[in-house]
Symmetry: C2
Subunit: 248 residues, 2 copies
DNA sequence: CGTGGACTTGACTGCTATCAAATGATGTGG
DNA sequence: CCACATCATTTGATAGCAGTCAAGTCCACG
């Protein structure tokens, strides 16, 4: 009824996965009303944390990670605007990993009661939230395939493809480029390789003119060529097929 | 009210994660009433399959996998009795990976309506099912850490630890041993390594007397020693702390 | 007893980690 | 504005882990 714009990245993302009415979107946008800013490289949530508020990223970037006994860090998810940090934590009881900001980040802290209310009274929105959880899981599976059975350079190319599509979903791709505020060390922790090897693999991708990555931005001159190189198939992101990247 | 035994592996598993009443367990056991047998090494579900029945493993073992364009296979989940194959497939709309049996397997095919009915009318059981989905996701995260930041031998040891705990949960550990019907080639596809390297790593674990693995059974003489070696922490499985492995 | 599959072993290659140092970028105080 | 400290990126050299190829052994089965 009111002016409908997909202001919130959450509504934009969910709309790519499930059918939503204007009223549904309004409900979703309402969730994003009150936000706060967290500085770069702070722990948002620690391992072992009990269910409390539910965190949602609105601006900036964060990551899920664990640190092994030997002090090595593993990053297994990059959280961009519209991504939840701990949507279903109440069911599990405690966090089994930590979440840290990679940049200055704007986040929403939702009382758990708000989520409960949605699950109870807004079935289509509830379904959309479960959809996002299941897509997160599908993404983990793809990362596992990536790490286990693709060459390092394809793995890295695949990651840049995925982020391109996800960023496109929330309208953050401009002229074939999107922000990626990762140091090469963090990138290495995503891919499970050493920093030196990450650097050299990146150089190789640049040499092949498949992409550019400097000053925290990824520039992709020809998405289809990069996707072919990486054998990237966006199927696992379960988009309804409305992304503008199709023609890119 | 009636004779309460945890007959179904599903009830046994769920009871380890969430509190269930006798009535809840009865509901769960009812799900397992009608089953069918599938031969070894058959595709249970193919990539791209639309939502139809929901599949649940009762006996035997199956795996989730994908095959890359180059023909390499990646196995990213081992399904044991009590595990669902595609519980929430209706929300995603289609399978983004395939599932195959590793042995002759007894499975239940549930109409989607049955699941819907539970989600609607049995909130505690519904919560238990969501719990199992979220634990599957947590397991994927741990596998990603495993693959990215642990040495091959620790990674393999970690896998055997996880399976020990999961098998214990459904009462399939006997005298420190459990069934694992994987060829070394399949084991390699789980770990993301070559068959030859899987063989040599296995030999090293045997040499260290951390475990035995022959005739489809894993024998673990001292679980705590293996867990220490692998830096295995069962936290991510989100068990309520009732497994008999604590003292092992 | 022959056959096929899984497992094992050896030889070799090459990818990737590690260590160390140089270069470049950024920000601060003098 | 420059000197300096700090951090990220880049480069080179070396070692070793892990993939590949190929052959041999073991075992279950007909």
């Amino acid at each position: 009824m009111t002016d409908i714009r997909l202001d919130s990245p959450l509504a934009a993302k969910l709309a790519c996965g499930v059918a939503l009415s204007a009223e549904d979107r309004r409900q979703i946008d309402l969730l994003c009303a009150h936000s706060a800013v967290v500085e770069s490289h702070r722990n948002l949530i620690s391992q072992g944390d009990p269910p409390h508020h539910v965190h949602l990223v609105l601006e900036g970037m964060a990551c899920r990670f664990k640190t092994t006994g030997e002090g090595a860090r593993s990053i297994f998810a990059l959280l961009i605007p519209g991504d939840f940090c701990d949507l279903n934590i109440a069911i599990l009881g405690r966090m089994d990993h930590a979440i840290a900001t990679l940049t200055r980040t704007r986040i929403v802290r939702l009382p758990r009661a708000t989520i409960d209310e949605i699950m109870l009274n807004h079935p289509r929105v509830a379904r959309a939230l479960w959809w996002s959880t299941l897509v997160d899981e599908a993404t983990l599976r793809e990362w596992l395939v990536n790490m286990g059975r693709r060459s390092t350079i394809m793995q890295m190319a695949h990651l840049f493809c995925e982020l391109f599509v996800r960023m496109d979903t929330i309208g953050m791709v401009r002229d074939g480029a999107y922000p990626l505020p990762l140091s090469q060390e963090e990138l290495a922790d995503v891919l499970g390789i050493s920093t030196v090897h990450a650097n050299r693999t990146l150089q190789e991708l640049r040499r092949l003119q498949l992409l550019g990555f400097s000053r925290q931005r990824v520039q992709i001159p020809d998405f289809q060529r990069l996707a072919d190189f990486a054998t990237f198939d966006p199927d696992y992101l379960h988009l309804a097929g409305s992304g503008s990247h199709r023609k890119a």
